[in-house]
């Protein structure tokens, strides 16, 4: 037993010693080694990613990229678990919504540019947290307006009034009335709920009139507001809905079920105050905090490769994804549907990372549901929303403005 223990110990130390020496040797050959990439892309998307990775490895023959596809539901929890062990992927492709949680847990590191890849301004806001860029944006995914070409043969609805008129004429419109999914209408009735300084501005934002409009319109003929997105998607595929508000990820489903020529994508309808401003989800490449120094360099190099103009065009061409690289201009004649999302991205907004996003979304969903169910007036719902967000984020009176007759509780000295 004693001998076995000594052999075990000596073997382990020798193994780790050899591995460590290998690490030192690789200092002289920088672009060399193995890195791991995790994502939740489907099989078609993964195939295109593998093509891109093969190109990268052809340019950098000493690099081996280990591609690990996971299901969307398990990607984040698996990453957190593995990252805490030290075995997380060097590059994680996921939602910008995860940045706060992962950066707070010290599981991702800030991105430092190596080649100066240009970054979309809004996307930059989305991935900026505590003054650092936590990742590199890959794709943008704003909501836009899908329409069925066989039903909408004439003029496409450009304003909310057009939309209601056409709905009354039988061109039904449908969308999910939740905070994130129906954020787009706030600026059609007034300013955004966040001002330029990132403070929560509910006093004169468009949120109350937007909720008021939604509450009134939900009973109009031809308007379907339902939180069951799968049902709405099915209705659109069946041709029972003319207009449907959704993100770019639905294109693959509609292409497969309806055919590329059967539907179009355009910008969301504007309102009395101006253009619609949906939220801008950003699919982001995040960098693992505890990669080895060599792996960290490789991961950054790979991320910049995937975010470059040529790869962005490849992903747009093959997968109808909207690249985040601002150098890419989307030609509406070649990519008519992607160009709808591209045009929409110019008026999109992002939630500031100074707020805890989960509290914003939870409180926002409650406000929408309370208004549409008639439980609260829009003013009361927005007041409660403001108070909940203020409490969750410890906002002071200077950081938030509330609707009339709504006040923050006095803080105790």
């Amino acid at each position: 037993m004693l001998k076995r223990s000594i052999y075990l110990l000596a073997g382990g130390i020798l193994f780790l010693g050899l591995v460590s020496c290998r690490g030192f040797l690789s200092e002289t050959q920088r672009i060399n080694g193995r890195i791991i990439v995790w994502h939740s892309w489907n099989s078609t998307e993964t195939a295109v990613l593998l093509e891109a990775l093969r190109d990268f490895q052809e340019i950098n023959p000493g690099v081996q990229v280990i591609n690990v596809p996971l299901t969307p539901n398990e990607l984040l929890p698996r990453f957190i678990q593995a990252a805490r062990e030290g075995s997380g992927p060097d590059l994680l492709i996921g939602s910008d919504d995860w940045i706060q949680e992962l950066a707070d847990a010290n599981l991702i590191r800030p991105y430092t540019s190596q080649t100066g890849v240009p970054i979309n301004g809004l996307a930059r806001q989305a991935i900026t947290y505590r003054g650092n860029l936590y990742g590199l944006p890959l794709f943008l995914a704003p909501y836009a307006l899908y329409y069925n070409k066989t039903i909408v043969s004439g003029t496409i609805a450009r304003t909310l009034d057009d939309l209601l008129t056409q709905a009354a004429q039988g061109r039904r419109v449908a969308f999910v009335p939740r905070f994130e999914d129906a954020f787009w209408g706030i600026q059609t009735f007034g300013p955004n709920i966040f001002d330029r300084a990132g403070n929560l501005n509910l006093a004169d934002s468009g949120l109350i009139p937007w909720l008021d409009w939604l509450s009134e319109m939900q009973n109009r003929p031809g308007v379907i507001l339902n939180v069951d997105d799968a049902s709405l998607e099915e209705l659109f595929i069946q041709g029972r809905i003319a207009y449907y508000v959704a993100g770019p990820e639905k294109q693959a489903i509609f292409n497969a079920t309806m055919g590329e020529e059967s539907f179009g994508v355009t910008t969301l309808p504007s309102g009395p105050h101006g253009a619609a401003s949906p939220l801008l989800p950003v699919e982001t490449m995040m960098f693992y905090e505890f990669s080895s120094p060599d792996q960290a360099i490789l991961a950054t190099t790979l991320a910049e490769f995937l975010a470059n103009q040529q790869q962005g065009i490849r992903f747009m061409r093959e997968l109808n994804k909207l690249p985040a690289n601002p150098q890419i201009s989307v030609d509406s004649r070649i990519y008519p549907n992607v160009s709808g999302f591209w045009r929409q991205s110019f008026t999109a907004v992002v939630l500031p990372n100074t707020f805890e996003k989960s509290s914003l979304i939870t409180a926002g969903n409650r406000a929408y549901a309370a208004t549409l169910s008639g439980a609260l007036t829009p003013e009361s719902a927005v007041c409660i929303f403001g108070l909940e967000v203020a409490a969750a984020n410890s906002l002071t009176a200077e950081q938030i403005t509330l609707p009339p007759q709504c006040e923050l509780p006095e803080t105790q000295p």
């Binding site: 690490g23 489907n42 698996r78 062990e85 505890f290």
Partner: protein, 447 residues
């Protein structure tokens, strides 16, 4: 608002997954945080695996120093049963907790250490269970330790390791062979093998339990109980086989096809085995042969040791084990000496001189017979007169005893006792003799 993607994932081949896992392991082990954790775990294992040796060394030193005093320490003698097996896992848990505390203090990832801690905890529980079982039942636990506890522990550890590894679990879903239209994955094979193993072990355990508990509960014959236990074991095994095949994806139709194919093979090449198998079932159900029975087969007396499905194990009077195919017992004549009763009659022929007092001879012989400890009083011994011999009266002592296997020795003992008794009582046992009559007239005449 996460961009949704469908959950379809590309299905790589087994080789690609293994390659990917190897590359992933090599990529991960390059990281300083991983190296630190692995080194810590190895160091802890190295130290704690040496711990029992260190304790033993300390014990020897103390014994040398204090002579026999250490042996007199009751607490030590009692507790060392637990200290030796539990020292390593307990020490590992203590040290790994210390390591986790140090890593967390420095904001280093400690997930691998935490995983190791849970494995060490499983190790401790396993060792504790085994130790308690050994403490209570001593070496009787050994087969359970070897065939039940150890495999369970290994499976649990492997399951834990595979479950925590990203991607490795997908290996079990990849088809590795196809039978007909049925694609069998590694997961199917593993779960089927584990299920079959579990049923085999369960069958064996149930047989052991029945053999131990039924005699007290039912007061039945040992042979009967063993037959019931054996049949129960085979029934469990049969159920396990069906379950195991079902886990491989075989439905009733597929099984019927396989059975049809097998039946051809059975008809051609396995008829002897099937004949023995069916005979074994007949023997077990009919109870015509039971362990402990004494039978006469091919002129030799044997005791039945065990009846299995294929063969029956007999033990000769010379303590040689014979494995006889069961078909022989259903096709040949077998004399059982203990079928309905274990009492057998033993005949001991003897003769006495014509001058003897026959009533006295009977009395002495009967008294001598009952002196032997194996002779039953009921039915009582008897003396049978067998008639007039050439030179003596012929008798037969007929006695009953319950140990058929000892029949030969018993008869030998009785002869010894009879000889002593006849000698003591002056009863003559004549030598064989022939009277030769010579006619003198013919000799004198010279013819």
């Amino acid at each position: 608002m996460n961009p949704e993607t469908t959950s379809t994932v590309i299905s790589p081949t087994l080789w690609e997954i293994l390659q990917s896992q190897l590359n992933t392991a090599l990529a991960i082990v390059m990281r300083p945080v991983v190296q630190q954790q692995l080194l810590t775990i190895l160091a802890i294992l190295g130290i704690t695996l040496m711990l029992p040796e260190l304790i033993r060394y300390w014990q020897i030193r103390q014994a040398r120093r204090a002579g026999d005093q250490l042996k007199q320490l009751i607490w030590w003698n009692k507790s060392r049963v637990f200290i030796f097996p539990l020292a390593a896992p307990l020490g590992s848990i203590l040290l790994i907790n210390l390591a986790i505390w140090l890593f967390n203090g420095r904001n280093y990832p400690s997930g691998m250490l935490e995983n190791a801690r849970s494995l060490f905890s499983m190790w401790l529980i396993f060792r504790l269970v085994v130790t308690l079982l050994y403490y209570r039942w001593s070496d009787g636990v050994r087969p359970y330790y070897r065939w039940v506890l150890s495999p369970m522990f290994v499976i649990l550890i492997l399951w834990r390791l595979v479950g925590s590894s990203v991607g490795l679990i997908s290996i079990i879903t990849i088809p590795i062979l196809t039978i007909g239209t049925n694609a069998i994955s590694l997961g199917n094979l593993l779960s089927s093998a584990i299920t079959l193993y579990a049923f085999v072990v369960s069958g064996w355990m149930v047989e052991q339990v029945l053999n131990r508990t039924l005699p007290d509960q039912l007061n039945a014959e040992p042979g009967m109980i063993q037959s019931v236990a054996t049949l129960t074991r085979y029934a469990i095994l049969a159920i396990g086989t069906v379950f195991s095949l079902a886990l491989l994806g075989f439905d009733a139709t597929s099984l019927a096809i396989v059975a049809g194919g097998l039946s051809v093979g059975i008809g051609i090449g396995l008829q002897d085995i099937v004949a023995n198998f069916v005979s074994g079932l007949t023997l077990l159900f009919e109870q015509s042969l039971r362990p402990g029975d004494i039978i006469e087969l091919d002129g030799a007396i044997n005791e039945v040791e065990k009846v299995t499905l294929r063969a029956t194990i007999l033990r000769t009077l010379d303590n040689v084990e014979l494995i006889i195919p069961n078909a022989k017992f259903t096709t040949a004549q077998v004399n059982t000496l203990t079928r309905s009763s274990r009492q057998i009659g033993v005949r001991v022929p003897f003769f006495v001189h014509y001058d003897s007092d026959l009533a006295f001879v009977r009395q002495v012989a009967l008294e001598t017979a009952v002196k032997h400890e194996l002779t039953l009083a009921d039915p009582p011994p008897k003396i049978l007169n067998q008639g007039f011999g050439d030179y003596a009266f012929l008798f037969e002592l007929f006695v009953w005893m319950e140990y058929p296997k000892r029949r030969g020795l018993y008869r030998s003992d009785l002869y010894d006792l009879l000889m002593d008794a006849f000698a003591a009582h002056g009863i003559k046992v004549p030598y064989p003799q022939r009277d030769l009559h010579v006619r003198s007239e013919l000799a004198a005449s010279g013819e």
